[in-house]
Symmetry: C2
C-alpha cells in the first residue's frame, strides 16, 4: 500500500509547459493604461529582464528549464505525491485522494518554483538587486531565498499590518538575507506620501506594489511578481508535470482536480499539464478552482479590463475582477485575498475549460484540521479551500459509491499560521461571504 | 549529482536495533529510590504498558516494528538523506556533508518516531488515555499526533513559561486533538501545592513531570516519556538504519558522525546502527555528541546515580548529570536543556565508544543561518549544535585537504523558532557557558 509516490531526482522536469498555444483561442493582450493599445516588450523592460518578457509572450509549448535552476529545484523537488489513505478511511469513502505537497520547499509553499528562475534570469542579465512586495510574507520569503542562491540583493516591502502581526515571516526573509521594510515606508515617494497623510497607515498590497516598483528604477534593479503573470504560471507547471508522471506510476487518472486560487499560480501549475492531456483527449478530468467566499473573483467577479494594483499603476489586464480597489475581509488565507485573477486563467475559465466554486472559511479550516489529524501535515489556510472541496466530493462518493480519483495540490504548510487554527479551534472564526451590495459598489470603479 | 538520497517505502526498516547486547559491558540498572535495589518490571507497570517495559530491558538485538506502526511511519518515513552540496561549496571544503532530515514529520522533529509506537502499545493494552509533560512543546505535539492515530485521549502538562511564550506549539497540540494544561495547574495535588505557594509560578519540567505522572494514576491511563529511556532510544534507531542504507546507496562510509544531545534520543537514533557496524569492524567512524555550553552534561557533568526529575520522584538513573535540580540558562535550544543524559548513552560514553564536545549558542546559530541560506531548510536551534560541529570539521578539511565524509542528523525544522533567529540576526543573542562555581554547587545535591 503506497503512501508517498516519490519521483527520483533524475525525473525532475527539464521544461516548463506553456498552455497558450494549445488553447482554442488566444488570450486578450494586456493594454497600456494610457493609450489602451496592446503592451509591447519595451514597455516591460524597465521592470523585468528580457528572458522573462520573452516567456511572458512566447508561442512555444515548452520552455527549457536552465540547469542552474534545476540544481536549486533539487533541494526540494520532485515533491511527493501523497495518497491520503488515512483521510479516506476517516471519511469512509471509496474515493482515492491524491495530494501533491509543495510545503517542503525552502519557504514552505509553491512560490520558490517561480522565485528561483526569476532570480536566475535577472542575475544572468547582470541585475544586482530585486525588489518586491509581500502581503502575508510567503512570496517575500521565497524571493529572499532565491536571491540568496544567485547573489542578488533582495528588498521587500511588507504590508505594515502583516509586518507587525506576522513577525516570523519577516524573520524568515531576513534569515535568508533580505532587507524588509514595513510599507508604507519613508524610503519611497509613494510611501512618504501615504505617511504624510496618515502616519499610522496599516498599508495595503497596492501601496507596497507602488513602493517596490518605484524602487526598481535604478539600472541594476528589477522588480519581481509572485503570481498573475503568464511566466509565473508557466514556472509553476513543474507541479502538474510531476503529478502527471506520479499518477501514471500508480496507473491512475484523475476524475477531479481541485486547487485553490488567489492570483492563480498554484492552481495553474497543478492543472495546466492535465488540461493539455484533456485537450488531447488522453484523459477527461473535471478541473475546478476553489476560492474563498470573501473574495470570489471567478464565481462573482466581472470579466473585464482592470488594473492589477489598487493605485492603478499597472497595465490593464483582462481578468475576473472584483474591482481594483476592492479590499477583501481579513480572512486567514492571506494568499487568496487578491481582487483579480491571473488573465490567462480568466481567459481559460471564460472558454469553459474548467469550473469554479467558492467556500466559506470555517468549512475550509474543518477540512484542514481533519487533514492534519489523519495525514500529519498542517495545511496553510489557502490550500484548505481545495481540501474542503476534495473532502466534499469524497463524501459524495460515500453516497454514490463511486471510486473517484481526486487530485489536489497542498501548496504550503501552516506552521506560521497556527494563530488562525487557534481561532478556529476556539470557535472564534466567522464565515465572511461578500455582500452583493459591496460587490456592486466595488465594480463601479472598473476603468 | 545527487542532492536527496531517497529510500522507497518498501525499504522502511521493519525492526528497531537494540545496542545493549553488542556492548562490551552491560549498562548499570536503574535503582529504586527507596531501597536502592535494581528496579523490577513490576515497579514500572503503573506507568508503562507491558510491551514497552519488555523493550526497556530486552536482550534481543532487534525488535520487530509492528505493521500498525510502520503504516503511520510511512506518512513521513523513510526520511531523505541530503547531500549538502551548496553548503560544501559555500565553505569551499573537500568534505562531503550528509544530513539526515527528520523535520518532515507531523510535528516537525524526530519525536514521532517513538511517540507512535508508544501510543500503539498503550492502545493495544487497552489504555484509553496518555499523559505527558512538555517543555518547549516538541514532544507534546508528537505524542498528540500519535494519540490521534490510535484513538487515545492525550493530556499534556506544558511548562507555564512556554505555554505563555510559545502559544503556537500549544495550538499544534490542540490541532492534533490533545488537551493542554499550563503547569503548574490546579488539576493535580502537586500542581495545586505549587500554586498555593506561588500563584504566578512559571513552572518547570520537573513540576510538569510530577503532574503528568500523578495524572496517570487511573487504570485506563498511562504516562509517556519522550527521551532518556532505553525503549525511546531504540525506537529512534530507524534514523540510523535508514541513513546506513542511504549512504551505502551512494557508496559512502562516514568518517565523522555528529549529533546534538539533550536527553540523547536523536543522537542515539542516528549513531547506534553505525556503532554496531563499527563494533563489528565494518567501518570506523568517529562518533561525537554535541551539547550546549550552557548545559554540558557529557563534557562537564558527573557520571553518577541521580534522579531524572527535579522533584526527585523518579527511579535513580546512573547518568552524566549536572545535578537534578540544576536549571540551565534559558538558551533557545529548549530541547537540550536537560540536567541529565540517557543512562544508556552515558554508559557507552563511559566505555569510550564515542566522544563529546560543547558549543556556544552563537556559533550554532551562525551555522543554522548558513545552512538555511545554502540548503533552504531552517534548522531548529537544537540540531544547529551538530551543524556547527559539521561546519567546523568541514573548515578543518579545507586546511588539511581531507575529503572527509561527515554525517549529521537535522532532527527538526525551526519554523516555530523564528523568534530565536530574530534575536540572533539582531545581535541580541549571548553565549552562556556554565560557570564552574554554579556547576560545583549543583553537583552537591546528588543523592
Amino acid at each position: 500500500m503506497t503512501t508517498k509516490i516519490l519521483l527520483d531526482e533524475s525525473r525532475l522536469p527539464d521544461r516548463w509547459y506553456n498552455v497558450v498555444p494549445d488553447l482554442p483561442a488566444p488570450p486578450p493582450p494586456p493594454l497600456h493604461p494610457g493609450t489602451r493599445e496592446p503592451l509591447g516588450p519595451d514597455d516591460l523592460a524597465p521592470l523585468f529582464p528580457a528572458d522573462l518578457i520573452e516567456q511572458e509572450v512566447t508561442a512555444e509549448r515548452f520552455v527549457e528549464i536552465p540547469e542552474e535552476v534545476r540544481e536549486v529545484y533539487r533541494l526540494w523537488r520532485p515533491t511527493p505525491l501523497i495518497r491520503a489513505h488515512r483521510l479516506e478511511r476517516a471519511l469512509g469513502t471509496p474515493a482515492r485522494i491524491y495530494v501533491k505537497y509543495e510545503g517542503g520547499s525552502p519557504s514552505g509553499s509553491h512560490k520558490p518554483n517561480t522565485a528561483v528562475p526569476q532570480a536566475f534570469y535577472n542575475a544572468r542579465q547582470g541585475v544586482r538587486r530585486l525588489t518586491t512586495e509581500t502581503g502575508a510574507g510567503q512570496w517575500g520569503s521565497a524571493l529572499s531565498f532565491a536571491c540568496a542562491q544567485f547573489d542578488l540583493d533582495c528588498e521587500v516591502w511588507m504590508v505594515r499590518a502583516s509586518y507587525d502581526q506576522k513577525p516570523y515571516r519577516r524573520s524568515m526573509m531576513e534569515l535568508f538575507g533580505a532587507r524588509v521594510h514595513a510599507s508604507p515606508s519613508p524610503l519611497t515617494a509613494s510611501g512618504a506620501k501615504v505617511l504624510a497623510d496618515d502616519p499610522d497607515s496599516p498599508g495595503s498590497l497596492g501601496i507596497a506594489i507602488s513602493e517596490a516598483v518605484e524602487s526598481a528604477a535604478p539600472d541594476d534593479t528589477r522588480y519581481a511578481l509572485g503570481s498573475v503573470l503568464n511566466h509565473v504560471l508557466m514556472h509553476q507547471t513543474v507541479i502538474g508535470e510531476e503529478a502527471l508522471e506520479q499518477l501514471a506510476m500508480v496507473d491512475e487518472a484523475p476524475d477531479l482536480i481541485v486547487g485553490c486560487t488567489g492570483g492563480g499560480s498554484n492552481f495553474a501549475g497543478l492543472s495546466f499539464p492535465f488540461l493539455r492531456e484533456k485537450l488531447r483527449g488522453r484523459m477527461n478530468p473535471e478541473i475546478r478552482a476553489v476560492e474563498p467566499e470573501a473574495c470570489p473573483s471567478f464565481t462573482r467577479g466581472r470579466y473585464a479590463y482592470d488594473f492589477g494594483d489598487t493605485a492603478g499603476l499597472t497595465p490593464l489586464l483582462k481578468m475576473h475582477t472584483l474591482g481594483h480597489d476592492f479590499v477583501p475581509d481579513p480572512i486567514h488565507a492571506g494568499g487568496l485575498r487578491y481582487h483579480g485573477m491571473a488573465p490567462l486563467l480568466s481567459h481559460i475559465y471564460d472558454l469553459g475549460l474548467f469550473g469554479a466554486e467558492a467556500k466559506p472559511q470555517r468549512e475550509c479550516f474543518e477540512a484542514g484540521v481533519l487533514f492534519a489529524r489523519t495525514e500529519g501535515i498542517v495545511p496553510a489556510p489557502e490550500p484548505t479551500h481545495a481540501l474542503a472541496a476534495a473532502v466534499e466530493e469524497a463524501r459524495r462518493c460515500v453516497e454514490t459509491g463511486e471510486p473517484k480519483v481526486i487530485l489536489t495540490a497542498l501548496c504550503g504548510h501552516g506552521h506560521l499560521d497556527m494563530a488562525a487554527y487557534d481561532r478556529f479551534l476556539a470557535g472564534r472564526m466567522e464565515d465572511q461571504a461578500l455582500p452583493q451590495s459591496r460587490l456592486d459598489e466595488a465594480l463601479t470603479t472598473l476603468p
